[in-house]
Symmetry: C2
Subunit: 356 residues, 2 copies
Amino acid sequence: MEYAVAADGDVIDMVSGTPDWEAPEALRAGLKRYADGDSGTFQYPPSEGLLGLQEAIAERRGVDIERVVITNGAGEANYLGMATALKRFSGDEMVMADPVYPYYHKRTEMLDGSPRFVESDSDGTLDPDAVRSVVGDETAAIVINSPNNPTGGVYGRETKRELVELAEKYDALLLSDEVYDRFVYADGAFETALSFDSEHVAVTNSFSKSMAITGFRVGYGVFPPDLVDAIRTRHMLVNVTSSRPTQRAVLDALEETPEAYYEQNPVMLEERARTFCAALDRAGAEYTRPQGGFYVMARFDGYPGTLENTERLIDEAGVAGMPGNAFGETRTDWLRFALVTPRVTEAADRLAAYFS
Amino acid sequence: MEYAVAADGDVIDMVSGTPDWEAPEALRAGLKRYADGDSGTFQYPPSEGLLGLQEAIAERRGVDIERVVITNGAGEANYLGMATALKRFSGDEMVMADPVYPYYHKRTEMLDGSPRFVESDSDGTLDPDAVRSVVGDETAAIVINSPNNPTGGVYGRETKRELVELAEKYDALLLSDEVYDRFVYADGAFETALSFDSEHVAVTNSFSKSMAITGFRVGYGVFPPDLVDAIRTRHMLVNVTSSRPTQRAVLDALEETPEAYYEQNPVMLEERARTFCAALDRAGAEYTRPQGGFYVMARFDGYPGTLENTERLIDEAGVAGMPGNAFGETRTDWLRFALVTPRVTEAADRLAAYFS
């Protein structure tokens, strides 16, 4: 990313995963209303989050409010789930897909756990049988992310059901990071891990992507009843509580934003993905066609996705992606391109021209 | 606190430490301006914080900007300092005063460290010789808080100098939590631990108290050069980054708020402390006269500060404090009263009447 910013000439940024569309209007209005409020409302919210926001989430997710903890983004919710799984369950292994969202294995290492990688299928999803071959008594948690970053794969209901069963069988946590749940493309269906009534399931999410506010840091976790007390305590001892103005603005936006706001964005992203993949076809690239989310992974023949080649692509084609080795071991030849730029068509044409 | 809220009749809340005065006007204006801004400004700030805020803090504290990490309140900064000290230094002990700010020992336990308590002097400060008698190779950090919560003691320059030397001698961290630095009363002087040019000093702070915004969660740490990379990594893996709207509003307030705003609050608190202590004299109580901060600790003869007696005081005197056993072992007979209510005079009269 730094290289792209520093580069001469016009570079199209397909590195970062920050939405390029507008936040809900009600969110801006909510923040302004808050700024004019009584100074008492500027003080600590409850540690587990504003009651109204907890309630709204519990109702939408169909879970008991006690299970909901508002966090500093899904990042903190994932941290809380992973740290607590490592303390509560017997093993020290975290099972996760490769290609991997880098925070998962880096966080595991920080927590003195051991990442255990399972190669994703070519369509970017995870085969439960592959997971079955590595889980065991050493497993503290299985961490999944669907729609997936970086592959764009969307895990189906049957996959999630089998993963829940594995978590139950080996007394581990299935930690399902669902931050892209609002970005499944038209022919897919999203199945939350909360559909399975299991005390081994935690679901994390945030409003960062769905409301285009990655800087607001409003996320949450729905945790198993057995773990939620330990998780609330850890949340309090790490962060005391999350930021209140942003919780208030998100609650206003949640109540007032029409469904149409959320529906338009996956349609736009799917259209961008179609355009981009068509160019990849012209470039003769191998790629995973995304079923949801913000990203496309691609491999160009004779052009492995090293950092050096990523920088060369910036200089010579004017397109910035991410090198595959940022995402583990299995796709080091690949590059990841983020679709969250209005210039996808132009970037696609540049790549097609460069590689043909 | 729950008991006080649920109680019949009129109860004066001297439990919570949330400021009862107004936030700076520029902060409200900054938040509104942010709400109207480009949606690009709603996305991730740098993990270590908005550059402008980092710069403003580095300049005010006279430190290299690389050492400054913006955190989700001083709570997270303390967590980062303590977790990293336990990883980097050989011991697992955290030395801290008793009476203790409860987050310090609870957080130590969460991190699998061992709290090591040193009894505070009767004036609420810490005797470096008492610290010297417990520090050693097992010490990972010495955690101090001045002006102190709960005693109101203000540690002098000589005390801090000796504590820095002890941290250096035993290769440990002196973690100095200075969130009440703007609330030293008239006859005292505040000495930051940053006055000592030492690679063993970390200072944490926040805008929660100084700007009356405990719910905004904008704090920071100034960490030793040797530790700051590990701390930035941990901050990223736990929280990704802190909330951006509140950082922006705090930066605006920092630039535009006159010094008079900050100067009036310790004057008001000292006046409240004087009123309250005069009533304690009438009640025949023992107490620590605060030199700064938000709190007064007191002991009433024949009325130990148990939870039961704290609740009885709510019911019979209409004043809510905190029981002493919330703050460790040495002052279980005491109660803590917070001065951040406009009704201090009334509360003082109630206590004087009740106990005389």
